[in-house]
């Protein structure tokens, strides 16, 4: 589904990713872990087309398509969605507007007509209930005055409505208490399916107790230096990152 080859990225002339390789197949959940400053967030930001990142080398194929040839909105419509670490507030734009406009854009890209209003209303109400969000949130401006946990739940709500093929979640667990974490994790888990994939970027292992990964990668200095199954995450939790750093330096 996603193939990242020899990716080099600089931010303001500073090298952040230095030849990153990663393959994600449909049906898989991957977690990228690593110490602060390793470039974890950069990967998902580049895939989502965020400004300020310069790709100096390498390719990213999504379902065989070069994503650097696609506009930001085209990537999203194709099924690549990033849940932000710090979702921004968009005063005045109601949640319901964003959801409907985004969903219809996606449908239009597939050659489908707009979603009928009753069907849409049923969908968003169901998904809000799953995220334990009161329907009144739909009438509120996107993230405006939301608590940290509410913002994160709102990100997942967008995922549930838009059903991305590859959901990328950047530090989705930061700032969540345990109850909110469970709601968010159960939302993410409901996205798991044989034809979808999930990429989790996280600093801590605790999220992975709730969303069990198939593959865990350790990112250091802009490269994946170690990959393994979920046991690797537990080992990192117990031993920290130093041993990986030493191992990779050796």
């Amino acid at each position: 589904m996603l193939e990242v080859k020899d990716l080099h990225v600089t931010v303001e002339d500073k090298a952040i990713l230095n030849g990153l390789n990663l393959t994600i197949n449909a049906g898989e959940v991957h977690a990228i872990m690593g110490p602060n400053g390793a470039g974890k967030s950069t990967l998902s930001a580049v895939i989502a087309g965020k400004d300020g990142y310069e790709v100096t080398q390498g390719t990213i194929l999504f379902e065989g398509q070069d994503i650097f040839e696609m506009e930001i909105e085209e990537r999203a419509r194709a099924g690549l969605l990033l849940g932000f670490q710090y979702p921004i507030e968009i005063p005045g734009v109601k949640n319901i507007y964003l959801l409907k406009a985004a969903l219809n854009a996606q449908r239009a890209a597939r050659g489908e007509g707009e979603i009928p209003a009753p069907e849409f209303m049923k969908l968003v109400r169901e998904k809000s209930a799953e995220m334990k969000m009161d329907p009144s949130f739909l009438q509120r401006a996107v993230n405006e005055g939301f608590s940290g946990g509410e913002k994160k739940r709102n990100e997942i709500l967008q995922m549930l409505v838009l059903q991305p093929k590859l959901a990328m979640l950047d530090e989705i667990d930061s700032g969540l208490d345990i109850d909110a974490m469970k709601v968010v994790a159960s939302g993410v888990n409901s996205l798991r399916s044989a034809d979808r994939a999930i990429l989790l970027v996280t600093h801590y292992q605790r999220l992975l107790n709730h969303i069990e990964p198939d593959r865990v990668h350790v990112l250091v200095d802009g490269r994946i230096v170690k990959s393994g199954d979920k046991e690797l995450a537990l080992e990192l939790e117990a031993r920290g990152y130093d041993w990986v750093l030493e191992e990779s330096a050796a």
Binding site: D51, E73, A105
Partner: protein
């Protein structure tokens, strides 16, 4: 012949059966207008607004009020209201609906109100809008023979909005009209009055309206001015408000239409506890020019004003906002807040904004601010990252920008109409109107 003389020539051609005192007032208006002439950009109050298109125009006076029925249905607000319609300044009995007014509430065309009770109605006319206010007020005073009179007895509460629809036709010969609106709200009375300017798409007439609003103790008046005239129409308005103790005046000045639209809004807070709220929106495109000059006079202690004007400017449009707050000596413990925020959608659009505070008291709470900018690019990105294309993202954010003012609008019919108009004007294929409907449906469900 000078421009003022050319305009006033129409006055002498006009049929007249005015009583002598009305004739005298017309003459005073005409004389004052002739002496002042049309304002030029050398006049401080008209620095950014060039009225040559008016001064050099040739405008006749309409003599009938015919209007296409289907078009009328399409343009009127779908609202349960007492309705009075003027077509090019001429009263249309056929299109008006004034039956069933509650006791103590008078809503009539000016001509009729004057003939029924000259003294009571005529006495109030011109009390607030003197001929010295501006050449246009003087011109209106010279010509005005039609308009609307709203009089509320003490304690009268009007159950439905009073809806004044002023239509402009696409005439072969352009016309001018000088409507006069008088609203006298007795003590503790309450009413909502809508002035709605609309008309045929190619209309290129000149409307010069003067509105006077007197609020007695504790009266509450919501006043809407919805400008949706053709993008070729010319429009000058002044609204003069006098507020007694504990009265409340809420103004909603919503500008979408017109080639050149100038509105002066002046409120005198003359009694303790009087409160004025000015909510304004202008959304202009093409070569539209909209100028809002507002003034609040805090003449009495413990008076309150709150003003919020928002402008959205596209293409080569030009907006002007001049908001002045004046606090008289010894008018202590007043509060006055003013804000003007503008959004430029095009590099060639222009806004001239000037907030002014003039304070001669020392125990006051006042603030003012003006901002002008573009859309938040981080927000544009956030929307695009969800698959929304860029024009749509910008449209959503523009609608959001006006939302702050529209949220204050209490009449849903108007709020929805303006939101839809804003949505429909935004670039590209676009279906925000549909979104607005969905949001409303979810709310109701």
């Amino acid at each position: 012949m000078s421009a003022p003389e050319r305009f006033l020539e129409r006055l002498t051609l006009r049929r007249t059966d005015d009583p002598s005192w009305v004739a005298a007032r017309r003459q005073a208006g005409a004389a004052r207008f002739e002496a002042m002439g049309f304002p030029t950009r050398r006049d401080e109050a008209w620095k950014y607004t060039d009225v040559r298109r008016i001064a050099e125009g040739d405008f006749a006076l309409a003599t009938d009020a015919g209007f296409d029925a289907a078009r009328f249905e399409a343009q009127r607000l779908d609202i349960d209201a007492y309705r009075l319609v003027l077509v090019d300044g001429v009263f249309s009995e056929a299109l008006s609906e004034l039956e069933g007014l509650p006791d103590g509430v008078q809503v009539e065309p000016l001509s009729r109100a004057l003939s029924a009770n000259h003294e009571a109605v005529g006495g109030a006319l011109g009390r607030l809008a003197g001929v010295d206010f501006s050449p246009f007020t003087a011109l209106n005073t010279a010509f005005a023979d039609e308009g609307v009179v709203v009089r509320l007895a003490p304690g009268a509460v009007v159950d439905k909005p009073i809806y004044v629809l002023l239509l402009s036709r696409a005439n072969g010969q352009a016309v001018m009209s000088h409507p006069r609106v008088l609203i006298e709200a007795g003590a503790r009375s309450e009413a909502t009055v809508i002035e709605h300017y609309s008309g045929e798409a190619e209309a290129a007439n000149f409307t010069n309206v003067v509105t006077e609003v007197l609020l007695d103790r504790g009266a509450i008046v919501d006043h809407y001015k919805l400008q949706e005239a053709a993008l070729t129409d010319l429009h000058v308005a002044s609204i003069h408000v006098d507020q007694s103790r504990d009265s409340r005046f809420n103004s909603y000045n919503l500008n979408l239409g017109g080639a050149l639209v100038r509105t002066d809004l002046v409120t005198d807070l003359n009694g303790e506890g009087a409160e004025a709220a000015y909510n304004g929106l202008f959304f202009v495109q093409g070569r539209q020019h909209v100028d809002n000059h507002t003034l609040v006079n805090h003449n009495s202690p413990r008076t309150f004003s709150n003003e919020n004007y928002k402008g959205v400017l596209d293409d080569r449009s030009h907006g002007v906002f001049n908001g002045k707050v004046f606090v008289k000596k010894d008018a202590q413990q007043i509060e006055a807040y003013q804000n003007n925020a503008n959004l430029l959608l095009s590099d060639r659009a222009e806004i001239d904004t000037k907030p002014e505070l003039v304070i001669y008291a020392d125990d006051v709470k006042c603030s003012h601010g003006a901002t002008t900018g573009q859309l938040d690019e981080d927000a544009v990105y956030a929307l695009r990252s969800r698959g929304i294309d860029e024009p749509m993202a910008r449209a959503l954010l523009t609608l959001a920008f006006v939302g702050e003012v529209m949220d204050k609008v209490r009449l849903n019919v108007i709020a929805e109409r303006v939101e839809r108009a804003v949505a429909g004007r935004l670039p590209e294929r676009f279906n925000l109107a549909d979104l607005v409907e969905t949001a409303e449906a979810v709310q109701e469900a």
